[in-house]
């Protein structure tokens, strides 16, 4: 029985690499996802995942399936879109979601077109859904660096990030850190999406951010715990998704996101903080 969980990883190196990759993605993506959710930017994350595509596609066009070219292209495109959308929403009447929705449709269409210019359908699938079962040393190093940098940056920015969500007026009255913090945070989002892009592809990268974060909201009302829970859910989803894909011969990326989705649905139903079951049967009211 234990073999079912253990053997795939002990026998196959590509499974071990995949596991290390998803753990790295979960470590960085979880906390970033929690902040995205609490800042009501969940759809922003989704849109930015797509904004990466044309940049990565240009890298692909120039250098083929090359890690550095696609990473740099993706970061470049993501940062441009993130900063542009962030500035637009701060200084004009257009809300961030509206400008991002426009960017996202444009980027997806542009990216798919660029990849098709040169590549086969296999390459297109690679870009859209990633190759979590074929992570080489350099990709793993990239993923590990991104999650390390993310955790460190969040630790440094924690206070202004929280304060900007809760009470932006207060933050402005005591500090000018608000706008730089916001921009650095958007940079972290892009970085994590580019990392996730290599493993899970542009369409699913955001899944390892938002699903664990959304699920964690149903288990705690404390932000620190929430980030830890979301990392744990991310790792668990990666682990069970890889096993699921191995035993049932499913594509790995979608299996991982489906596992995360299953945890989310379960949390939605039985989660202690506002899950559906607790809403339906809250128990008899207390004395005080």
């Amino acid at each position: 029985m234990l073999d079912l969980f253990y053997t795939p990883f002990s026998e196959f190196e590509f499974m071990r690499r995949a596991l290390v990759g998803v753990v790295a993605i979960a470590l960085g993506g979880g906390p970033v996802g929690v902040f995205l959710m609490l800042r009501r930017m969940s759809l922003t994350g989704d849109a930015m995942a797509h904004a990466i595509l044309p940049g990565a596609a240009v890298g692909y066009l120039l250098a083929g399936l090359s890690l550095p070219a696609m990473t740099v292209g993706g970061l470049f495109a993501g940062v441009i879109v993130a900063v542009a959308a962030g500035l637009v929403s701060r200084f004009t009447a257009l809300k961030e979601d509206a400008s991002l929705a426009a960017f996202y449709l444009l980027s997806l269409a542009l990216g798919v077109t660029i990849v098709s210019l040169r590549g086969s359908n296999v390459d297109l699938l690679h870009v859209l859904f990633g190759t979590v079962l074929a992570l080489d040393d350099n990709t793993l190093l990239l993923l590990a660096s991104i999650s390390t940098l993310t955790v460190l940056a969040l630790a440094v920015l924690y206070r202004p990030l929280v304060l900007e969500c809760v009470d932006p007026v207060f933050l402005r009255s005591v500090s000018r850190a608000g706008t730089p913090t916001h921009l650095i945070f958007l940079g972290l989002v892009v970085m994590n999406l580019v990392g996730g892009f290599h493993a899970l592809g542009t369409l699913l990268a955001v899944g390892m951010m938002m699903l664990p974060a959304a699920a964690s909201r149903f288990w705690t009302s404390d932000i620190t715990t929430m980030m830890i829970v979301s990392v744990a859910i991310g790792i668990l989803s990666g682990f069970s998704g890889l096993l699921l894909s191995f035993h049932a011969e499913l594509p790995a990326g979608p299996a991982i996101i489906l596992s995360a989705g299953a945890v989310y649905v379960m949390s939605l139903v039985v989660g202690r903080e506002g899950g559906l079951l607790w809403l339906a049967w809250p128990g008899k009211h207390l004395e005080a």
């Binding site: 440094v156 206070r159 202004p160 929280v162 809760v166 009470d167 007026v169 207060f170 932000i223």
Partner: protein, 249 residues
């Protein structure tokens, strides 16, 4: 500190949105250590005035002079601007008042923790430390925000409608803190609607209706004639106003 030193000085200040003035040609000083109420109808520019003092809104014309660094101002905006659904504890919300000491990254020392506990106890929220802010009532939230103000330990304190929709008991408790700040020679400016409270507690009043109507000792400012004048001024709002040519002295 002598009552003659000014904490905040207004030189022909006009504040507004777009080109429309919300506070029009305000001139005068708020003395250090004074306790001033800002009174006027809705839309008279009271909140705008506070935003101008804090610096989140730049004057369209004129100059606001502060006798303290901007970190020396503690500002309580209208409560509606806080995201109450955020998963944050009461303790953490209140501890943010330590910002000027701890800054972006600094830790919170044990002495500071004692001060947070004292502030919570001063507003009657001992025992609420671990509670998420989403579970607080309106009055409890206002108590927490006053605790945060206490921790900010600022020489100038600005309060925007601090007692609106707050019950009598909480108002009385928080008003005691305002008196305490006054006794400690801090400069307090509060936007208020309850004229009886203003007469009872606040020695100075600025009556404003876009234009300053009257400014000085409360009993003289809140005369029936002045109050009537304040109401008329706002009612006379002109949608086709010309460019203001009043000279800046």
């Amino acid at each position: 500190m002598s009552a003659q030193t000014s904490a905040i000085r207004f030189d022909e200040v006009t504040l507004g949105y777009g080109r429309r003035p919300a506070v029009h040609h305000l001139d005068g000083t708020i003395p250090a250590g004074s306790l001033t109420a800002v009174v006027g109808p809705n839309g008279a520019g009271k909140s705008t005035l506070l935003k101008g003092i804090v610096g989140t809104l730049k004057p369209l014309e004129g100059h606001i002079g502060l006798n303290a660094p901007s970190s020396g101002i503690a500002y309580l905006p209208q409560a509606a601007e806080i995201d109450r659904s955020f998963p944050l504890s009461v303790y953490d919300l209140v501890a943010m008042g330590l910002w000027s000491r701890s800054g972006l990254f600094g830790g919170i020392a044990r002495r500071d923790r004692t001060r947070v506990d004292e502030a919570l106890s001063a507003v009657g929220l001992t025992g609420f430390e671990r509670r998420p802010i989403s579970t607080l009532s309106g009055g409890q939230m206002q108590r927490a925000l006053f605790a945060r103000l206490l921790l900010q330990d600022a020489p100038v304190i600005l309060l925007d409608e601090p007692f609106t929709a707050i019950d009598a008991k909480t108002t009385a408790d928080l008003l005691d803190l305002v008196r305490r700040w006054h006794d400690e020679s801090r400069t307090v400016v509060a936007v208020l609607h309850d004229l009886d409270m203003v007469k009872r507690v606040f020695p100075h009043t600025l009556l404003i209706a876009r234009e300053p109507v009257a400014w000085g000792r409360t009993p003289e400012v809140l005369s029936p004639e002045n109050l009537l004048k304040a109401r008329r001024m706002v009612e006379a709002h002109d949608p086709h106003a010309d460019v203001c040519h009043r000279s800046v002295a």
